[in-house]
């Protein structure tokens, strides 16, 4: 009896070398800017206490 082949696992959220996370965020920024929205990450209002001091 042959070995049972494992089910195909999920691929997960992967990015290519040509289109990494910086490119993903840039695409998001361009789409937001196209609507006149400031693309800067606003953070979460309730996060002030947890935010480490910027160095």
């Amino acid at each position: 009896m042959g070995a049972v082949k494992p089910p195909t696992p999920p691929k997960g959220y992967v990015l290519s070398e040509q289109h990494g996370i910086k490119e993903v965020l840039e695409v998001e920024a361009e789409l937001l800017r196209s609507e006149g929205i400031d693309p800067q990450w606003p953070g979460f209002p309730e996060d002030e206490a947890g935010r480490p001091p910027r160095t």
Binding site: P10, K11, G12, V14, H19, V27, G43, D47, P52
Partner: protein
């Protein structure tokens, strides 16, 4: 680890706790009906780790008595920033992924939140998309904004994964708008994709 790859360093405990808090805040930022949908399909558990996801997923599968990953499957999953493991009903997020290193604090937060939003929507898409939706993936991808289309295509997904990736990416973009106070259908989003995301993710904003 493949030959030639640099050894991966662990995150310090404070940075990992910070990443876990960011994802907790991203969850709380979801519209309440989206959280309810995720709870109803049992996709409301997650783990933020600083370990490669193939390795971590394999450990969890083994603990649950499920079929473990092959070496090549594990290596492939190690490349992922996040993953929804349907058989375990858990989302894993790699907060120490190479892609995230070197980002400034603001970009790191934005990227980590985006991964979380992507994975929650991905889980909803797996649970709620129809077979017709999945079959339409290649056609729908043609309707997506160019940058989104390029990102999904270049990552090497199979055609039957296009719909789920498109829903996940679109949802993350809509949440990014919502975080900045904007709702409704954006001009850059095709109506058919918007309708799909509304139906699959319960998007009503």
């Amino acid at each position: 680890m493949a030959a030639g790859e640099p050894e991966r360093r662990s995150m310090d405990s404070e940075s990992l706790r910070r990443a876990q808090r960011i994802v907790d805040l991203a969850w709380r930022d979801l519209p309440p009906n989206h959280r309810l949908l995720l709870q109803n399909v049992r996709a409301d558990s997650w783990e933020v780790t600083d370990r490669p996801l193939g390795l971590r997923a394999d450990e969890l599968l083994q603990s649950a008595g499920q079929t473990q990953l092959t070496r090549s499957q594990r290596a492939a999953l190690d490349r992922a920033l996040g993953v929804w493991i349907d058989s375990l009903r858990v989302i894993l997020i790699d907060a120490g992924h190479q892609e995230l290193r070197g980002l400034n604090d603001q970009a790191y937060e934005a990227a980590l939140v985006r991964v979380a939003w992507h994975e929650w929507a991905h889980a909803l898409s797996i649970a709620r998309s129809t077979s017709d939706d999945v079959a339409a993936g290649a056609r729908l991808l043609e309707l997506a904004p160019q940058g989104v289309r390029v990102g999904i295509r270049s990552a090497g997904y199979r055609r039957n994964e296009y719909t789920h990736e498109l829903v996940a990416e679109t949802y993350a973009l809509l949440m990014a708008r919502r975080r900045r106070g904007q709702t409704g259908q954006p001009a850059w989003l095709d109506a058919e994709i918007y309708t799909l995301v509304r139906r699959v993710c319960g998007w009503a904003q």
